[in-house]
Structures are given as C-alpha cells and as structure tokens.
C-alpha cells in the first residue's frame, strides 16, 4: 500500500536524495540524525469506552488512534484428556500470574483480533491486510501474549485491537501504528477477576481495581516488566542505516525492513534471579529479543530511472546509439543519475540493520524508554 505509494519526485531529486543519504554521516532532508525518530505526541486513555486506548501524533501530522476492547469468550476445549486432571492451579495462579509458566495456561492466537483501518483504502486491500498481519504477527510471535488473556480453563478474554489511521497515509504508517498499538496495550486494563477456579467468570465492577494487561512494577525499569513488542521501520541506503524514514527517504531506499523487537523476559527473569540483591544497582539495560523481520518493498523500485547525458538525445546522443547505451547505463551506475535499486540487500547490510536495532542503548531501547515515560492515566 503506502510503501508503493506514488512518489512525486523527479529522477534528479531522487538521485540527490540518494547521494545525500549515502554520505557518511548521511544528511537527511529534515536534518535528523540517522537513528533519530521524528518527535511525537502521545497520550493514552483517550476513550473511556474502551479497555485501553492511545493516540500518537507524529510531527509530520500523521496521527493514529488505537482502541482495545476485551470480551469474555468461552474457550473451545481441545484436549478433553487433561481437562479433568489438573484444574487446581487455575485461579490461584492468576494472582501473581505472569512469570508462572504453568503449562495449562496456553493461549491461542485466535484470542487476539487486530484490524487496521486506513482512510481511503478498502479493508481488504492488500496493503492494509499486510500491515495488520505484521502488527499481529509481532504481537503473537512468542505466544506469551495470548497467555495473558487466559481466565480459567473454560474462559478467556478475546481482545479486539482496532487500529485507525486518522490522517492520510503520508509516510509508511507501520512504525506509527505499531507504537500506538504498543501504548494502547500498555494502557489496557481488564476487570479484576473475583471468581475462582473454573466457575463462570465474575468480575469486580470497580474500574479502579482493574488490572493492567501488562502490569507495571513499581520500580519500573529495574524489575522485569513485560511489554508488548514494537515494530520499527529501518532502511538502508548504501551502507548507511536510517531509522524512521520519511516518505521521501523511503523513496530512495535500497532495502527497507520492518523489525519487531520485544524485551526478552526470560533472560531478564534469570538475570533478575541471580542478581536479586543488587538489582537496584543493575543498570536499566534490557535485553531485546528479535521477534520478526519483514522486508518491505520500497517504492524506490518503481521509480523511473534517470537518463545519463551520454544517452540523452537532447545532449547530442543519436537514436541509433540510444538502445545499447541505455542497456549499459542500466548495468553501471553513472554518478548523479538515478537508478532504481535492483536485486536484494547485501547480507552484511541486513545483519548490520538488525544489529543496530538490537544493540544496547540503540534505537529500540530508546523508543521503549520514551514510551515508558508516557503517563498511562
């Protein structure tokens, strides 16, 4: 969809942009550093009618709203064999729930339904469906998320995430939608369960007593507190790696990746266990885990190539020469002449891209910290 949106840039402009972004350090049209995100405004809890909601405005004016609704749904019993044997753990495990990896709290990816609405695009548009698939894929990648929706053996929460892009899709909206979804999930609260065991669920009416879907521990960063994943858009031009590309930058990308990362809770849990005593001294370092990588087809592949002067009849090239010349021009790059990228990305660049996302104190770290600071109301 938006990744293949028409870019109204001339080959000369594309060539200029590409050249500027290939410099070391790259010069971005809006003067950002390569790993710098656009400034954004975020708020949560904007819709009292939802279990959780968030709104993010990027500085370029694109805006997204995510609302999360939860409904109780009856779990389809798959294995009748174990149904009778071990339901003792059920309700009591829910209290301190999360780090308990009791086997019977299996989640199902059907429990989460994510829809994306982009104004002007049909909801069955390939681009919209791809965005929705990428966002839900990251969410469900490790299966831990669906486990949070477990109520008891017979019931679970069904979570509906409705992702709305409010503004026209100026730049590829994936990072915006992902960050907004992340925030909305952080803000999501589910009513406190009052019933015990496998009886029909019964909840506390008091919204103040509702529990966060992703509980925030009091000493927020030191103790491991699981968070939903974020999906970042990263692109490479030459050997430069650029985060959060604007539309014009994406138009000259050699390769664009959607990388989903989450905090590695299992690793954090083990370190927390060993360093239990001095966890106050432990730095805010979180170990990040790679959940998924998707290549995004950058619109640069569809841009028209520039014509070098040598092959341009306006500069004296004869038509007879033109055909073979044009073919060689495709093969070898001429300085200052735009040529749409062909073929895939170099493995080294790909590795570097992923490395850059995951490194300590890197962009993903920064983003998670920044989102942490948002008041969850």
């Amino acid at each position: 969809m938006a990744s293949t949106q028409h870019v109204l840039l001339s080959p000369a402009e594309l060539a200029y942009l590409h050249a500027a972004l290939s410099l070391t350090p790259p010069i971005r049209p809006d003067g950002r550093a390569p790993a710098q995100f656009r400034p954004l405004v975020a708020e949560t809890g904007i819709l009292p009618g939802t279990n959780g909601s968030a709104r993010i405005c990027f500085a370029d004016g694109t805006e997204a709203i995510v609302g999360v609704k939860a409904e109780v749904e009856r779990t389809r019993l798959v294995d009748g064999a174990t149904a009778g044997t071990e339901w003792k753990e059920g309700g009591s495990a829910r209290g301190e729930g999360e780090d308990d990896d009791g086997g019977d709290k299996a989640g199902d990816s059907d429990w989460v339904e994510l829809t994306v609405e982009i104004p002007g695009y049909r909801d069955d548009d390939a681009g919209t469906a791809f965005l929705a698939a990428m966002l839900s894929e990251a969410l469900l990648a490790d299966g831990a998320f669906a486990k949070r929706l477990w109520i008891n053996r017979r019931f679970h929460w069904k979570l509906y995430l409705d992702v709305l892009l409010i503004s026209p899709p100026l730049s590829y909206p994936l990072p915006l939608l992902s960050l907004t979804t992340h925030l909305a999930l952080l803000a999501t609260r589910l009513p406190r369960l009052k019933s015990e065991g496998d009886e029909d669920p019964f909840f506390d009416d008091d919204w103040a007593a509702a529990r966060h879907l992703f509980p925030r521990s009091s000493s927020s960063t030191t103790k491991e507190s699981a968070r939903p994943p974020v999906t970042l858009l990263v692109m490479a031009v030459g050997n430069n790696i650029i985060f959060d590309p604007a539309k014009e930058e994406l138009a000259v990308a050699d390769v664009a990746l959607a990388v989903s990362v989450a905090e590695d809770t299992t690793a954090a849990a083990t370190t927390a266990a060993t360093m239990d005593l001095d966890d106050a001294a432990a730095p805010a370092a979180r170990s990040l885990r790679l959940l998924s990588i998707r290549t995004i087809d950058p619109p640069s592949r569809l841009t028209p190539p520039g014509v070098p002067n040598a092959a341009n009849s306006a500069y004296g090239a004869t038509t007879a020469q033109k055909q073979p010349e044009a073919r060689t021009a495709e093969a070898e790059a001429v300085e200052g002449v735009w040529r749409a990228p062909r073929g895939g990305a170099k493995p080294l660049v790909m590795a570097a891209l992923v490395q850059k996302v995951l490194e300590k104190g890197g962009v993903a770290d920064e983003i998670l910290d920044a989102l942490d600071a948002v008041d969850l109301g």
Binding site: E117, Y160, L164
Partner: protein, 282 residues
Amino acid sequence: MPLDTSAYSLALLRVDGRRWNELRRIHAQIRTQAAADGSSYLEIGHTKVMCVVTGPSEPGSRRGAIGSTGGGVGGGAVGGGAAQSKGAEVAVSIVIAGFSSVDRKRTARGDKRILELQSTISNALAASLHTHLFPHSAINISLHVLSQDGSLLAALINAATLACVDAGIPMTDYVAACTAGSTSTYAANDEAADPLLDLNHQEEQELPGLTVATLGGSDRVAVLVCESRVQVSRLEGMLAVGVDGCKQVREILDRVVREKGRRMVQEGTVEKGVGLNDMDVD
C-alpha cells in the same frame, strides 16, 4: 424496556438529568491535525467524531488515496443541475471504529447504512459549499467515529462543517445539525407528549426521533431524517425543537471557529486580516 419513560412525567427530567430543551455538552476543536487541509474533533456528550478534509484537490491524485474506496460516494450530482464536471465533487468516507459502541462490533465499509450516511453528508455539504469555484476537483472528507452515544449523523455533519471551515473552503453558512425526539410512543397519540432535544443512545432506541440539519441561523432544513414510527401530529413539535437546537449548535460551532481564529492571530500564526476587523477578534 430499559428506559423507564414513565419517570419523565414525574420530575420532567430525562435519564441523564437534562430538561427537555437542553443540549448535551458539545466540545469541539478545529485544526487538530497538521497534515490535513482541514480537521476537526467534535464531542456531543459521549459521541465523539474526528474529521479530516483534504482538498479541494485534483481528483486524479485521489485514485491512490481516498477515492479508491468503495465507500466514497460521490455527491457531485447535487445542486441546481450542477453537472459533475462543473463543481467540485464532495466525497465522504466514514470509518466507524470497532470500539466505538458498547459491544465491539465491526462495521463493514460496504454497509448500506454507512453508504446512506456518506451520501447524506456529501449532499448536504455540497449544497452549502461553493463547489462551483473548484471545477474538476474533489473535496475528500474522511470521518472517524470514535465513540457512539446517539445523534451520530448530527455529530458527523457538525464535524464535517467545522473541518470544511478549517480547510478554508468557501461556504454559504454553517450546516449545523442536532436531533429531536418526542416522549410519546409511536402508537399513542397523546397530546401531552413533550418534544425532546438532542437524544442520547438510550433515548434513540426507545423513543421516536429525527435528525435535522439547518443552514446557518435560518429555518431552512438541509437534512431531515426520521427513522422511527411517529404520529404526524408529533412532527411539528419535534421539528421546531430540532430547528431551534440547530441554531444553538450553530452558535457553538461559530464560537469554536472564532476562538481558534483569535488564538491564531494572537500567536501570530496568521496575520490579522482586514476582514477580521468586523469579526470582533481582539
């Protein structure tokens, strides 16, 4: 019946404590989004809608954007024989968020009800906007419903009007809308029934009601939609209350626009123009 209408006759107070002629709180903002040509946010009670206007722009560019939706109903063929090519086309698309109602419900975009809403808004605005100034172009209005609590069409019309004002599209006057209802049930022809102003969701479910939109402060009705059974004799009272409510809504919308204008002059975003002098902007 969840709504006990018998309680009304005792204290003359409605379920949410309003009198018969009271509007709910209307809160509106314009220029909420930097990327759009015009934008607005409007709340009537718990009904919350956002509107983004792009255009007037070349209709060709809309292929990739708003227009390709099956939902965008072109309303160009409205207005004194204005051929589609002669005036700008007003394309409206409405997205009703799945989380907007109490139960999560997903509304397909091809839903006839939504298509009807789209075409109503498009036709209502096309008659008020000076579309003939922008031949061969399109005005795309995209509306998002974030929360529903009755008076949806009215909220959508008001938000679209505000966003068009923000987009700077010349128009005759505000198209202001609100709902009106009656305390009578449809069969009963009781003369004692009171008309009600601005129905919430609960009242909309139980009582007959209609949506009115008028042009500016006049009595001229641009939109009149009634979807429930009601005695003919009730209509006059409901319409009168509705038209009166529209005048109040118009004042509120006007105040929002003036307030924003005043603030923008203060902040120096725009220069105080000559024409602004008579708008008591100081």
